[in-house]
Symmetry: C2
Subunit: 476 residues, 2 copies
């Protein structure tokens, strides 16, 4: 470290070697920063260009192959990242070595003429900034998911959706965590993290497929959507708890209970207080006259709740999600959704691509014998991810109408962007071994890839049931 810092500072010092100045070290530091500053902006612009090209090329290819675009954004990230092109890489340990590996930094050096001695600090600052942009991206993603959730609709779909959601969270979590600890002898914290990643459900992907085959308003469609909304809520509470455990490094029952209680209390507290106070907040919005008042006030609330959740040892995304849930119940919802969309379009792909770019799929290369266990874990996670959700449909009985149980279970399979949130937070926490990190990404890719064709197949199997709306039927 010391070596690196001294070389990084050297050009700054050099400027001040001739005149005998009293505060050489301070001035040297400032000079090095002044030199690095514009280059950091250039590095961030280049990174964003790479992110957008990767996400658009990947997304468009997936759309043409009838796959969810988010899968393409993730795979695009894998391609530009450490696994393949080394364009977008992030420092791990030795910054100077990582900077030398980064093709983006080589391009920057070749075009913008970076002094080789400050490359390390430009690279570190660029990576840090892109990281923060990706974290703001996931905060916006969860804010948007919260904004699109409908608590009232959830209550209406009722008990059946609740059963599906709870079973679909508990089964893969227990199977996954248990299997990793007892079959593969992993440490408890990483195993719990991987188990937690298995609980996610991506409502967006399933909803899109259901809409395509015109089953969105069928009984099955309603249960799946309701369960997926509840799953988001359960999943984000689990994630907040697991991420906090990862910070501690150990798992104690008392600690887990406190965390679950505080996550639940935070979410319920925000919703209850939010329902009371939000009319005043909306009243304030209506009185403002400057540009973008609805968006900026809402984002300020989301950032403030994210900060609060972070400070009480939970995850920032829980706060952003809660802000979205609360604002979804106001009459500003449609206006806000429309305004958040372009901002999310700009920042959310940074998150997806960065998660992909950080994933080293090389650790799962089957040609290397040492990688076999990682591959087996990845296969295990994929199987548990599918079984753990497929069973959910079969826990429904006693309903007034016959439902396609297989279709309900299959509809819960895709992990999509929610699974990526788990992978991203896990990777940032530093507790996941690289191979487990890659195995989780493989699980997310596989479930997201397989779900659409499986869902079409399941509905065909169940025979040509009518796609009638069931708006007024309450759950059985």
């Amino acid at each position: 470290m010391t070596d690196f810092v001294l070389t990084a500072i050297a050009p700054g010092w050099a400027h001040f070697l001739s005149p005998p100045l009293p505060f050489t070290s301070v001035l040297g530091e400032a000079a090095a920063e002044a030199e690095a500053g514009p280059l950091v902006l250039a590095g961030v612009l280049l990174s964003l260009i790479v992110v957008y090209l990767a996400s658009k090329i990947g997304g468009e290819l997936c759309v043409r192959l009838d796959l969810p675009p988010v899968l393409g954004e993730l795979v695009g990230g894998v391609v530009v990242g450490v696994s393949v092109l080394n364009l977008l890489v992030f420092p791990e340990g030795n910054i100077a070595a990582a900077a030398a590996d980064s093709r983006l930094m080589s391009f920057l050096q070749a075009t913008a003429g970076v002094d080789p001695e400050i490359v390390g600090s430009v690279f570190a600052s660029t990576s840090e900034t892109v990281n923060v942009l990706s974290e703001i991206g996931v905060i916006l993603l969860l804010f948007e998911i919260g904004l699109e959730s409908d608590l009232n609709e959830l209550i209406r779909v009722g008990p059946q959706a609740a059963i599906v959601a709870v079973v679909g969270v508990v089964t893969p979590f227990i199977l996954g965590t248990g299997g990793l600890v007892y079959l593969f002898h992993l440490d408890t914290v990483p195993a719990i993290f991987a188990g937690a990643a298995l609980t996610a459900t991506s409502i967006g992907i399933t909803a899109k497929v259901l809409a395509e085959i015109q089953r969105l308003s069928s009984r099955e469609g309603q249960i799946i959507i309701g369960a997926a909304v509840l799953d988001d809520i359960l999943g984000i509470v689990i994630l907040a708890v697991v991420a906090s455990l990862a910070k501690e490094g150990t798992v104690e029952i008392s600690n887990v209970l406190i965390l679950v209680a505080s996550a639940a209390a935070f979410l319920i507290g925000v919703i209850v207080l939010g329902r009371l106070l939000i009319p005043y907040f909306v009243g304030l919005m209506n009185q403002l006259k400057t540009r973008g008042q609805v968006l900026i006030l809402s984002l300020t609330l989301a950032f403030a709740l994210a900060y609060l959740a972070d400070v009480i040892q939970l995850e920032g995304i829980l706060g952003a999600f809660a802000a979205g849930l609360v604002l979804a119940e106001t009459d500003k919802r449609d206006e806000l959704e429309e305004q958040v969309k372009p901002v999310a379009d700009v920042l959310v792909p940074v998150f997806f691509v960065v998660v992909g770019a950080k994933t080293n799929l090389g650790v799962l290369n089957p040609a290397v014998p040492a990688n076999r266990e990682g591959l087996i874990i990845a296969a295990f996670l994929v199987v548990v991810a599918i079984i753990g959700k497929v069973v959910t449909g079969y826990t429904l009985f006693g309903g007034k109408e016959k439902v396609n149980k297989l279709a309900i279970g299959v509809g819960m399979i895709p992990r999509g962007e929610v699974g990526l949130v788990f992978a991203g937070v896990g990777s940032a926490s530093g507790v996941l071994p690289e191979s487990l990190d890659a195995a989780i990404i493989v699980m997310v890719i596989a479930t997201t890839f397989l779900a659409p064709p499986m869902l079409r197949f399941a509905f065909n199997m169940g025979g040509p049931s009518d796609a009638e709306p069931v708006a007024e039927t309450s759950g059985g």
Copy 2:
């Protein structure tokens, strides 16, 4: 610097002191980064909350006082910045001292429990990220200004607007730079920078006042708007040249000529090539099917041109402005303007508030005798800023119709957001003495503040001329 780094790294080292590890320094560095990472996000979220509160409170107050909101955002920044509240401060020289001064860092420490030994590095990374966000903000601002400019309209308004624009750029530049060098004995580069800041015109503020008093489509209104568009183009070329001179530190005529030629060549080259290639670009946009394709492709173009402009030693904002100009001529313009708006709403205030926050108005405190010269310079800049633009109207003669010459000149007075871009770039370049930096901000505030009432007065003075549209009359 070395002291600071060692203490910043200390907690990282401490973790590894007991087990004898081979690469202690590397691991220590990574551990310190892993600890600082989430805190940097928390610091950035807090900074954004402060930015939004400052910009909204300032903006809303100004709207209620019938002043342009951008003035409120700037003054809001001054209030939260180094001049008053010390909430949002940026490191200059000694990072540890600046971190200790930052109320935001104190709040972060009090709420999130930051290890005192990593406060310096969290502060440095937070500031760097907020800086990059503000620079992306100004890139978006110039992209938006480019997108709203209409080259065809400019050509239509013709010679009268061109005369007003050129006189309004040359007069304040020569008066300002000459006065600072010969009256106040400033160095050439800072004097040129201040002179360049005097050339700006903010079209938005004047257009809004003209619309309010229903003179937007009057002959005077048309000339002012046309001249202001041309002023944007001339101004950004001047800024690119001046900023490049600031990097060199010296002014040589050959150098200036090369820079002017390359800035003009870049802008003309992008516009000409853009007109040829943009149909293919729009064709590509139309073939994409994923979310946000128009916005993301356009921003990728803007960032790529910003990077290119940066690499050839001009300013990134010149590239973003050129991208906006080119895209303004496509049929995507309206859709794009609508989608860029929320993104600009989120990022542009970061720029305005940061410019205000960095301005130390304390250096103009009249109670301190040493500040007198700075105050006199500020007063000088305000006077030159007003005179330099008011004369422009009186250079018009021989036109077919009688125009209100005073009103035209007064309409060019407000510097607004364009003046702030000059101040921001100048401050980032490090060549401006703190007092000159503050004097430029005072000039921007004063002209933006005075222009609306002066414009109303000038039109009243000119008698009750009809506010008729003159859409089809060409210039005389």
